[in-house]
């Protein structure tokens, strides 16, 4: 935990050391320590207001942290350490850091003025300057992978929630990320549409994608997750193999939460 310890690009994709975040006087994160290894699926659960979504948004620097350190693939997120001092990264440098991290939102956030295909092609073409023809090819492959190749020409407003979320996953994958963040990806869906999204995520996990998933789907956490992290009050209360945490929680707070959701 020395100042200079910048974990090299080893097997650890995400390294969080004592991450703090507060809005004014409200402390949302009060020291999160967490590591996610390459190919690991880390499910984060906890009651609402526990700070799990905020922590997820800190990973790709959508939120600035107030204290602690956060590395992704060995890069300190949002800052450069020079001569024992932290320097804020410029907006373009932060953008460059985010290119390697895919994110899927609770409310999909597809671009409504673009077709499904254009949504998936947008970032590769505009950000990575990929040629349109090859971007289209990749996009069609990804849409096929999420089972929506036939919807390529539709606008997002015409799709069901489950379909929109699958397009959002394809859009994030189009940047070929080394890490995928999921922020309650099924919470805004009608119950009968949850399965199709979880299936796509399970496929991703099987292909070896490193994933951090904030979720309320305990079944998914148990079956697909490699680690389960239980957060409450801005700290990690308990973490471990999902079956053990779910089956035999050691902390009273974990027990109380699980008794309500299981």
């Amino acid at each position: 935990m020395t100042e200079e310890s910048t974990p090299a690009a080893d097997e650890r994709v995400v390294v969080a050391e004592s991450v703090h975040k507060s809005y004014g006087r409200l402390e949302v994160l009060r020291g999160i320590d967490l590591e996610v290894r390459r190919g690991e699926v880390c499910c984060v659960v906890g009651p609402s207001g526990s700070g799990k979504s905020t922590f997820l948004r800190c990973i790709n620097h959508l939120e600035k942290i107030n204290a602690g350190r956060l590395w992704v693939n060995g890069h300190l997120m949002g800052y450069r350490q020079k001569g024992g001092k932290l320097h804020e990264l410029r907006e373009s440098e932060v953008a460059a850091q985010r290119r390697d991290i895919g994110m899927v939102f609770q409310r999909f956030n597809l671009f409504p003025h673009m077709s499904v295909l254009a949504n998936v092609m947008e970032a590769p073409v505009q950000v990575k300057r990929v040629a349109r023809s090859s971007a289209r090819e990749t996009a069609m492959e990804l849409l096929d992978r999420v089972g929506l190749a036939d919807k390529a020409g539709s606008y997002p407003g015409r799709l069901s929630g489950g379909q929109q979320q699958r397009v959002a996953i394809a859009r994030a994958l189009a940047m070929n990320p080394s890490l995928m963040l999921f922020d309650e990806p099924t919470s805004a869906l009608d119950p009968e549409l949850v399965g199709e999204v979880l299936d796509v995520m399970q496929g991703l996990a099987a292909d070896g994608m490193t994933m951090v998933v904030v979720t309320h789907e305990m079944g998914f956490a148990r079956e697909v997750g490699d680690t389960l992290v239980f957060m409450d009050g801005g700290v990690v209360v308990e973490s471990g193999v999902p079956r053990e945490v779910l089956g035999n929680p050691r902390h009273e707070r974990t027990r109380a939460f699980l008794s309500k959701v299981l």
């Binding site: 290119r99 994110m103 939102f105 956030n109 671009f111 970032a123 940047m175």
Partner: protein, 320 residues
Amino acid sequence: MSSENENLRAAGPPRPGAPEAIRAVPVRYPGRWVAAALILLLAAMFVHMLITNEAFNWPFMVANMFTEPVLIGVRTTLVLTVLAMLIGIVLGVVVAVMRLSGNPVLSFVGWLYTWFFRAVPRLVLCVLFGNLGVLYSRVELGLPFDNYWMPLLGLSGDARFLSFDTRDILTAFVAALLALALSEGAYMAEIVRAGLQSVDPGQTEAAQALGMRRSTLLRRITLPQALRVIVPPTGNETTAMLKDTSLVAYVPLTTELWFQLQAIGNRTFDPFPMLVAACIWYLSITSVFMLGQYFLERSFTKGDRQAQAEVTMTQVRAKN
């Protein structure tokens, strides 16, 4: 019992003994008829006045409203409208982005600009810009405050590279264009700001998460979505601008439509027909503008309509 019966009815085939369609006596509205008759009567009186009142002097009006100076005036009015709107829109986007920026100086200057140009009437601005020559007899480009710091450094002469006579640059047309465009920029800034703020913040987050830079984000994601809110009021602004070009007669810009029509009226001591001619000219041009606005707005909701058409198509397919 009712729900079960309804289910049976809905499921079963239409029964042969369907009830006869209702043919009721409609409710009468005598008040509406009286009002309509009264309005028709008033309209007839108005048309009668238009035809019989000598003051309209229709042949004189028709003979004078298409003369060359008037047509040049129409052209100036159109050119002014288009240029002032183009500059105004560009200024509006810049000022709106300034106002939404995190830098307090930029956002304050943006606010100050909109405050000033929305608070001062366009007529006053037109006269003011017509008299700007009073401030500077020459317009010069160079390093600022050279008359202070050059002597301090022991240098003689000045640090100016280009110099123009104000009368050459600030012609009546330029003064008029500046007054209208700067004023329009302030209104457009508010419209653009409302448009940008109408876009869901989740859109910005999604684009940021994809690694987009702020400039790309504005150009590709925020502005295109804001346009649906921005375009309709911009159409109204264009129509308003066309009418407000009549104010530049007081810069004074003499090649403009309203000035020319008035001039004819004053010269012939028969002003009224030319006032009517002005009404007809502005009515015709704004009507064409409004038609254009209609088609523009229709094309901007294309994404929606395409989605709508798709819905209809699926419904049709589902039925077949």
